[in-house]
Amino acid sequence: MILGRVTGSVVATAKHYKLEGCKLLLVQPIGPQGDARGVPMLAVDGVDAGEGDRVLVVQEGKCASMVSGRADSPLDAAIVAVVDAVELE
């Protein structure tokens, strides 16, 4: 999984039927200290994350399908947790 920050959301009426009802959030991958790392992605929201939240994103289809609740959904990223704290040595 990777850390990310929710930066917005995407509305898409025309989409694959297995994505219906899924909330699609824009997530900027970040490092443990919050520095932006890489390109913003879309992820299905499984935990009612809000804008500005620090979150944990799983980047794999089978897991994303578990979050969306529909097996074999054409998804490759899902938010699985809202992060309260990150502690490093």
Partner: protein, 90 residues
């Protein structure tokens, strides 16, 4: 999933039987603010989109999930057309 814009189409008469009847589109990955981000690629269209439309696509074997139970050899597939992107102030 990643954001992209459809910039072209690909026609291929000789191809894997699993690709028969599939629409092949050239897409340019984008950042949310619309700048190009990375090189263009060819993706299958699972939604019915056209050139110049903003879309989002899925990568890897999950791209073939759009076409189940048919087994389509694809590692990039368009799964949604973007109506709007709402980026807050944060």
């Amino acid at each position: 999933m990643l954001l992209a814009k459809v910039v072209g189409t690909v026609v291929a008469t000789v191809k894997d039987p699993g690709l028969l009847g599939q629409k092949l589109l050239v897409i340019q990955p984008l950042t949310p603010s619309g700048e190009p981000n990375g090189s263009r690629l060819v993706a299958l269209d699972a939604v019915g989109v056209g050139v110049s439309e903003r879309v989002f696509y899925v990568r890897g074997k999950e791209a073939s999930f759009s076409f189940l139970p048919d087994h389509v050899p694809a590692d990039a597939g368009i799964v949604g057309k973007v109506d709007s992107i709402d980026e807050g102030r944060s």
